[in-house]
Symmetry: C2
Subunit: 233 residues, 2 copies
């Protein structure tokens, strides 16, 4: 499938290659591709600049958000929370209509340092804002509750651990769940459909706990699992 990955940071660099390794054609979307390729500052979390990283991904295309959306049947939103709506605006509504958007972004606000707060929460969510702004887009919130390396490699942790899906379009959620299983190895029973897109409030609001656990455990390589009574002895 032709897939657009919006963003060039840590999440995009995990999602894109994992999709490419399964035979998908991936194009990364960015605001200004020339700028992205000439930037020499270190990438996120001390990683290489995108231009260097890009050389390790010979088949990866880079374009504007519009280029990427044009190319794609499915879009992955791996931008920052504050960059998500601007990216979609640059992509253009007519290039989004009818397509699935897997929304991984969280509306983290680092303006007061670490731990971040959320720029939207409680009675609204980033996923809902995106869905309201682009009614023709099939927004499926997913993968936003764990670190990038685990999104694409759940087997890095032993045993069951879970991710959540929120979205208004049932068929889109089925398709996303199938992709997560086939491309990344998520087990069907560990993908929990919470309901409509407003349930993304719940998973975006998990981030304030996640960042504190990250600080407490001193590693991002953890995830939640659900223990239910039916499993009780």
């Amino acid at each position: 499938m032709n897939i657009a990955v919006f963003g060039t940071g840590m999440v995009a660099r995990a999602i894109g290659p994992a999709l490419a390794s399964q035979g998908h054609s991936v194009i990364y979307g960015t605001r200004n591709p020339a700028d992205t390729l000439t930037r020499t500052a270190p990438g996120p979390f001390g990683g290489p600049p995108f231009s260097e990283w890009h050389k390790t991904q010979p088949d990866a295309l880079l374009g504007t958000f519009a280029d990427a959306a044009e190319h794609a049947a499915l879009i992955v939103n791996a931008t920052s929370g504050s960059g998500s709506l601007p990216a979609l605006e640059q992509a253009g509504q007519h290039r989004l209509d009818g397509k699935i958007l897997i929304d991984i972004a969280n509306p983290l606000d680092f303006s007061n340092g670490f731990p971040p707060s959320l720029s939207v929460c409680n009675t609204d969510s980033l996923a809902e804002r995106i869905q309201r702004a682009y009614p023709g887009l099939k927004v499926v919130k997913a993968l936003n509750t764990l670190t990038a390396a685990l999104m694409v490699n759940p087997a890095a942790l032993s045993g069951d651990h879970v991710i959540f899906m929120s979205g208004n379009d049932a068929a889109a959620k089925v398709q996303v769940a199938s992709l997560l299983q086939q491309a990344f190895g998520w087990k069907a029973h560990n993908i929990i459909d919470l309901g409509d897109v407003s349930t993304a409030r719940g998973t975006e609001m998990l981030l304030p706990l996640w960042v504190r656990l990250y600080a407490s455990l001193q590693t991002p390589m953890f995830n939640f699992s659900l223990v239910r009574q039916s499993e009780a002895s």
Copy 2:
């Protein structure tokens, strides 16, 4: 130990008897004991009125919040989120100073129905509000992320699952962790100390996910466990 349980609802009715069964002397605090005992409407979630339930707890004392705080070396806040600060105000600062408060309450706002939103979150929390209002109280947020029946009986779910603690007073957290282990059977490694009282933002903000999982799983008898890389094969 003499323990005050503020509240007469589902959480209080789980916590109190579990503490009493371990030999603690429990007094329930309520706004107006006479009113509480004459009320005939069903209790929370279709349970009996407090007066009927109270007959099944022959040693349980009932008093005002001030009576209960006076009696107690440790207080459990099992009121509703909106009732917490009024209850503490009625208890009176001089009856609270120097004592530990295990704060189980969540600032749930049901004014728009189910699922509830939070009346405080993101850049503040109920636990912080309580701590700011009563600097002499040693607030330890705990047990607010799972259903009442599991708070006092973690063994009802098989395997490891976790609870969190937030508070500024390290010695108070040690004492609370010890009580949770001895009275309810929580294992030490499943009690996660997140840090100071501001980390309660994380656990209170877990509720919007919790209520949606409750709706999705059709049971409150579930909890989260943490899967960490060190456990990976």
